[in-house]
Symmetry: C2
Subunit: 150 residues, 2 copies
C-alpha cells in the first residue's frame, strides 16, 4: 500500500523507525518530512499529509507529533480527512470500521514503538463496515457551520 507519513521534530525518530518498518513490510512509503530534528510547526506537516492523501498520492496517512494531538487537529481541518488519534490497536481498528479513517495519528512521547506498530497494523488491515456509518462519513465530508457560511 502507498502510505504517506509526516511528523514534527518531536516525532522524527519514530517516523524513521515506522518508515523503515513499513518499507520492510513491502509498503511504498512517502516521507513528507521533516528531514531532521530542527524545530518545525506540526500544522505545516499535517496539512502536507492531508493533501497527499486527499489527492490520492497515498492511500493512507500516518501523522506523528509529540502527543499526536496537534497534528491530528491539523489533518482534520481538511474535509476529506478522517484522522483518528489512537494509543492502542482497538481504537485503530474502530477508526477504520466505523469512521473509514484514512489517517492515523500517534503521539511519539506517549506511545512506544511496538505499540505504534500494533496500532498501524490494525489500521492497515481493518475495513470500513459501511451501512449506518456511511451517512455519518458523508456528513464529515460536508461540514455545515452557520456562522461561517453567513
Amino acid at each position: 500500500m502507498r502510505i504517506a507519513i509526516a511528523s514534527d521534530h518531536a516525532a522524527f525518530d519514530l517516523k524513521a523507525v515506522l518508515s523503515a518498518w513499513l518499507s520492510g513490510d513491502g509498503h511504498d512509503v512517502i516521507d513528507l518530512g521533516p528531514s531532521g530534528t530542527d524545530r518545525v510547526d506540526y500544522p505545516d506537516y499535517g496539512y502536507k499529509l492531508a493533501e497527499a492523501v486527499a489527492s490520492g498520492k497515498a492511500a493512507r496517512g500516518i501523522a506523528l507529533c509529540g502527543s499526536g494531538i496537534g497534528i491530528s487537529i491539523a489533518v482534520n481541518r481538511h474535509p476529506a480527512m478522517r484522522c483518528a488519534l489512537v494509543g492502542e490497536p482497538y481504537s485503530a481498528m474502530l477508526a477504520r470500521e466505523h469512521n473509514d479513517a484514512n489517517v492515523i495519528a500517534l503521539g511519539a512521547r506517549l506511545t512506544g514503538e511496538d505499540m505504534a506498530k500494533a496500532c498501524i497494523a490494525a489500521f492497515l488491515v481493518a475495513e470500513f463496515a459501511g451501512g449506518r456509518h456511511a451517512g455519518r462519513i458523508d456528513k464529515l465530508s460536508h461540514p455545515q457551520f452557520e456562522e461561517l457560511s453567513a
Copy 2:
C-alpha cells in the same frame, strides 16, 4: 465555567453522568443533546458543539461518542476548534498546555466514568503555555490547502 457538552446515542449515558458531575461542581453546563438514546449522527452534535464554543456561548466543550473518534473529527472541521481525543489525564493536560485545546473528546465505550472525570478535571485546570506553541495555534486557525483554494 460555562461548559457545553454533546454526544451521540452511544455516549448518552456518559453525557448524563458527566453533566451532573460538572453541575454539582458549580459549572454552568449547556447540554446540546441528544436527549435520549435513539440513533443519531455524531457529526450533527459535533458541529453544534463547535458552534457553541466558537460563538463564545461556552468557554469549553466536551464531545462524546462511542470511541470519541468520529465526534473529534467533526469538531475539528471548525477552524476555531482545537479538539483533543484523550483517554487519560496526561494527554488532557498536554492538550491545554501545548495545543490550547478548547474541546476534549472521550470515547464512552473505551474510557470509564472515573477516567473520563479525571481527564476533564485535568483539561479544566491546565493552562495554555503560550510561547513557541502560539504560532502553531495560529496556523491551526488558518488552514491552507492548495487544491481547496485553487
